[in-house]
Symmetry: C2
Subunit: 277 residues, 2 copies
């Protein structure tokens, strides 16, 4: 059933493309428009069935009832501000950025029907070429309403994500940014640092240990530069907490404290085993 | 074709059990004997078809032509030394430990036909219950011969691993321990530290980023305590190299250096993309 007449997706990459495919597969909108800076991306997105039509310029969007900002965080803020003068007050606007405080604080003052969303279904894979209609099935999507968020807008956006297969959780933007810094931003920083520190002449010995721990280091640098800088306070706190854990293991190794080291590793192992898959 | 008459596997866990299953599936030995401290493990290993018979005591092994030490490193050294007086000089002895310098240096002086091996096919999954006949197919197995290693022993052990499906690489024990500290030991330390530093109240938001980066933190603590302490010099050097990489990212975040941060992340991303899967 169509929830929307016309949806405009600005940024047709992995996330935007997957939302387009998911909407079209489930017939959640009568029309899906894509906006990209690259003609090649638009052609690919049309060929894959992620959008019906595409444009290079945001001015070409006419009367959508939902605009989805699916770009790196800084671009979300910039483009969100840019379109605010031309967007009809009734139009829903949703972003999919990985940090929420700065995005929501900026855009909810400019766009009366703005809802912040963060689908936890990204991947190190980039681009519409890797988009999937079922990318969000079984995943979590965090919505970040505030006191300014319209209840109607929130419930329509919630419905969209549920139809796309996601479980929806609501958190305020500040809390989202804090919790996500541990489960997503910190692991990315460590993966980026780890792959950089491994000497090239040892990479031929890499097995699943290194591959699994660094898979997300193949992620897009612009996306992640924006994420880390727009959530720097939380990220640095999370990093310091990690460094304390690391220094406990390091000390035990330096002191050859077998019993102490085994205890730390056992606690960690049990904590990880409790986390599914 | 049987390469061996009687193989005795001491330690029937994930690795020992998988070797047993692999040998029996391919009929590489006429008989596979298992030794474990636990009757339950022996019964399970027999039920799974990983061994033909099992014993609680190493004294029960009579006239094997290959003994495989598949335990945590410290137990390999301890049990290897213990059996050295009763092992016939012609008997091949191989270990499967993840650090090689201390193991090889100790055991090659006690066992004339000793060959060090490190199959890079472990997993955070533990025990014979998770053993697989094809665990080593397509994986790498590092053999660590020295000037003292018998050429005949080495070529028979090499043949065994090739039959089990592994690609064999030879490295001296010192070089093995250095290179492996980066691609295996360092990732484990970071995974253990990371899962410990994540607040429990954020774990419900964990997606593939955290799960992939910490999967190996579910590993066995005794195994890993031994690995880290028997390779502490290399491990601490690798850790320091990682901390330098990490501090570059941390500084860029603190200084809000968008251009510098993006450059570091791009280098890391390209390096990881060049590593398959």
């Amino acid at each position: 059933m169509a929830l929307f007449n016309k949806v405009a997706i600005i940024g047709v990459g992995l996330i935007g493309g997957s939302i387009g495919l998911g909407i079209k597969k489930r017939k959640l909108a009568n029309q899906v428009i894509g906006i990209s800076r690259h003609r090649k991306t638009i052609n690919l997105a049309i060929a894959q069935g992620a959008i019906d039509r595409g444009f290079l310029n945001i001015a070409a969007i006419s009367d959508p009832d939902l605009i989805i900002l699916a770009m790196p965080v800084n671009s979300i803020i910039q483009i969100g501000a840019k379109i605010s003068s031309q967007v009809h007050p009734d139009t829903l606007v949703m972003d999919t950025g990985s940090t929420k405080k700065l995005v929501v604080r900026t855009l909810e003052n400019l766009l009366p029907n703005f809802v912040g969303a963060h689908p936890l279904a990204g991947s190190e894979k980039q681009g519409v070429i890797n988009a999937q209609a079922d990318l969000f099935c079984g995943s979590l999507c965090v919505l970040t309403p505030t006191r300014k968020t319209s209840g109607v807008a929130l419930s329509r956006i919630k419905r969209l994500w549920v139809e796309l297969g996601a479980r929806v959780v609501c958190l305020n933007p500040t809390r989202h940014d804090k919790l996500i810094s541990y489960v997503s931003h910190l692991p990315h920083i460590l993966a980026f640092s780890l792959i950089q520190s491994v000497p090239r002449n040892s990479l031929y010995l890499a097995s699943s240990s290194l591959k699994d721990t660094t898979r997300i280091a193949a992620s897009d640098e612009t996306l992640w530069k924006d994420i880390l800088l727009t959530n720097s306070g939380n990220v640095l706190k999370a990093l310091n907490r990690f460094l304390i854990s690391l220094s406990r293991i390091k000390s035990a190794i330096i002191q050859k404290d077998a019993r102490g080291l085994e205890k730390i590793l056992r606690q960690a192992s049990l904590k990880r085993q409790a986390l599914r898959t």
